[in-house]
Amino acid sequence: MISISDLDKKFGRLHVLRSLRLELEAGKAYALIGPNGSGKTTLLKCILGLVIPNEGEILVAGESVRNHWRYREKLGYMPQIGRYPGNMTIGQLFSMVSDVRKASTDRDEELYEAFQLEKMANKRMHTLSGGTRQKVSAALAFLFRPPVLILDEPTAGLDPVSVEILKDKIVREKENGRLIIISSHIMSDLDYLATDLVYLYEGELLFHDSIARLKAETGEERLGRAIAHLMQAHLPSNA
């Protein structure tokens, strides 16, 4: 579904992604992990076309990302920090995005209803708390039933009830055959949600395999411990 080859990105002198190769398939949920500043968000933004890579190519369903925009119909994006026009109300925001997506019918309003955003439809975006903003981001990402969902730290800042609602939704969409990419630092969430693991370290791909195999190889039950094991194997000096 998404195929990334030799992706390279520099911000000035900072080398953020180093010739990354990655194949992501539909029906799987990928956990994108790595230390802070390892290039997770940059990778996601490259797929979205928000960041323009220096070299390499990204294909989404066979279509190149470079200088194209129509492929973004297939993407739903939940940013790490949702920033929205402050003067707009929640209701206006949703109708505007539906307007430019030209999708007024067949919307997936499950999260919109579950998070009870209807009640707050008249609130302006700049008055919202960080958590409510996250809910808006989540509801927008799922709204148009995109085949690919890119979730950048989806559960950070949400209250426990909302986290469970969102996690259930992610699992259901994964079973519907969508491709899901989740970047997160919360291992227990990823353990529950993800089927595959992508580990980035300083812009390089350190590990890419299914979580089941990782657990079998390391003999650990929990993802957090399995990753700790993995890190010790790969970076003996840091152990």
Binding site: L50, W69, D99
Partner: protein, 255 residues
């Protein structure tokens, strides 16, 4: 495209700054017509507003607006929309709202007090000058990530074109007064939208005393009609060249 422009216009209207700007222009133009019965003199005073105030407000407002719309731009960029389209929608909406404010603020009193015929060039060059400085503001906005720096750059553009450039031209003319400078001045004037607008207005008002060296030469060289055409075309080029460059930079910008 039209949907996007509509949403951006709604956002601009909501800030109320534009209403303030329109009221300011209205008040000062009506005031000038009240103070002086001679339409020619009023047009001359209005010309100074058009040459100094309009570019300043346009360039500062557009830069601030662009940075305030960063969230909107980011949101739209993750949707299936062409980057260029988002950028141009921002540009068209900003320029359109400022031109409308100018036309209402200066044009209405002009029509009301009967100066519309003599002031048509004033309205045209004022509008084009507005677009040119919105265009320059967009260029300075994509050149840097920092809002304060972008506003500084935008102000530098304004200062350069309204004040420093004139001083520079004067210096050139004075230094090389022993040589025939006609063509050189012509080129120098073409490189400044504010100069072009001033000459355009003066050609119509026919105030040779105030035309200065370059203006007088302009008239001599082209005659009124050709001179007006020449500077109009150049002014249109000035309105769009910076934003075309800015679009190319924006295409490759990381957000």
């Amino acid at each position: 495209m039209f949907q996007l422009i509509r949403y951006i216009l709604l956002d601009i209207v909501r800030t109320r700054f534009l209403l303030f700007y329109t009221a300011l222009l209205l008040l000062s133009s009506i005031g000038m017509f009240q103070l002086d019965a001679d339409t020619g003199k009023v047009l001359l005073s209005l010309m100074n507003i058009v040459l100094i105030v309009v570019p300043l407000i346009s360039v500062v407002f557009s830069t601030i607006h662009f940075y305030n719309s960063y969230e909107f731009i980011e949101l739209m960029l993750s949707q299936p929309i062409d980057r260029r389209l988002i950028f141009w929608a921002e540009f068209v909406a900003t320029a359109l709202s400022l031109v409308l404010a100018f036309l209402v603020g200066v044009g209405l009193p002009l029509v009301f007090y009967g100066g519309a015929v003599g002031g048509s060039m004033l309205l045209f060059s004022g509008s084009m000058l507005t677009v040119a400085f919105v265009s320059l503001a967009f260029l300075s906005s994509v050149l840097t990530r920092d809002k304060a720096r972008a506003i500084g750059l935008a102000l530098a553009f304004w200062l350069y074109f309204t004040l420093i450039y004139d001083a520079f031209v004067l210096w050139v003319v004075y230094q090389f007064s022993d040589y025939p400078l006609e063509t050189a001045t012509l080129v120098l004037v073409s490189l400044n939208p504010v100069d072009l607008a001033r000459i355009l207005m003066m050609l119509q008002l026919d105030i040779s005393a105030l035309m200065g060296y370059s203006g007088a030469f302009f008239k001599l060289f082209f005659g009124t009609a050709t001179g007006a055409w020449f500077s109009s075309v150049l002014l249109v080029v000035w309105s769009f060249l910076p934003v075309v460059i800015a679009t190319r930079i924006f295409q490759r910008k990381d957000l």
